[in-house]
Symmetry: C2
Subunit: 199 residues, 2 copies
């Protein structure tokens, strides 16, 4: 079953060869451009890099969110799947949560401008926000619940707020050597503990 069929339920007619080529070229080009110019890079720049017209990019990826999602789909999936794995392999649920959040932070800060895009009030990014929430919130909630059930952390922070907070802390990390998101997120996670370590 092709990746495409996975979305359309297996009944979609095959795409034309040139369409497939262009879609792949666009994905490759977008991935490259996102690295150098960030996820808000001009559409024209991506189209040029893919040697494709403006119209083609909009046909394959109607909104910018669609393109970003397509580019990072696998990494988001991997992050989501790491949750249960960490829960099984880590000593405590809180440790698993901390490690998983670390993965999430690593992902975000290596994607130039993604954290900012996630909170952008631009309407076209709502889909992106929703996608990340859809994939990661259940995982985060599971880890959070496990830690609460184990009596390790306070219960007054839900998965949504936690993810948003973490995402926010990752905004604008590029080009600011004085700021590092990781310790801030660590502070947040440590702050969740019911009996924090003396420091």
């Amino acid at each position: 079953m092709s990746d495409d069929d996975a979305q359309t339920g297996g009944t979609s007619p095959r795409k034309r060869a040139d369409a497939q080529r262009n879609e792949q070229a666009l994905l490759d080009a977008a991935a490259a451009v996102f690295v150098t110019s960030g996820v808000e890079a001009p559409v024209r720049e991506i189209a040029a890099k893919a040697d494709v017209g403006i119209g083609t990019i909009y046909r394959h990826f109607p909104t910018r969110a669609d393109l970003i999602i397509a580019v990072y789909r696998h990494q988001v999936q991997a992050c989501a799947e790491a949750g249960p794995a960490l829960l099984a392999s880590s000593g405590t649920p809180h440790a698993a949560l901390a490690q998983w959040i670390d993965l999430f932070v690593d992902f975000l800060i290596t994607k130039h401008g993604l954290a900012a895009a996630l909170q952008s009030d631009n309407a076209s990014f709502e889909t992106l926000h929703a996608y990340f929430l859809d994939r990661l919130m259940p995982v985060c909630a599971e880890l959070l619940d496990a830690a609460v059930a184990a009596g390790e952390i306070r219960r007054d922070l839900d998965a949504y707020r936690l993810l948003r907070g973490v995402g926010n802390l990752c905004i604008g990390v590029d080009g600011d050597s004085r700021y590092d998101a990781r310790p801030m997120v660590g502070l947040l996670i440590t702050g969740l503990l019911r009996s924090p370590p003396t420091n």
Copy 2:
């Protein structure tokens, strides 16, 4: 001594009457537009509201940062001055810090888009970033130092990181009823304590 002289050292020639009128009109218009459309509202919208040409706005406020700073100058000043006052009136330095951060958060979340602008990688906002840092970092550092000296909090977070983190947590609070910046910031501040309260 006029507000203007305060900047130019008292030797500047008086501005023309129409220039003064227009500058005030622009400040009023900008303040109003910032409330409804955010601090990134189109220049033309502000100029229109002030009944002024596009050129005039650029003459008085060459960059957007200049305009934003001029509009919020007094509030930032008030926030800065509240620091020492809170330190004197509060029971503990940590309490003073918490209250001061609260003031800062209140200021940020009531200014549509300001927190986001502060971290924007747009070059024209660097000045804004610098201005806030210049005014608020010393105050924040004083409160932080006092709390550290009193043995209340850990010393591993400097004023810059704290302000950035708090600012980041305030991004995108408008139009998201599921997220509230205050508890997140509270978590951060509580997390600073060496002997956090059992919860």
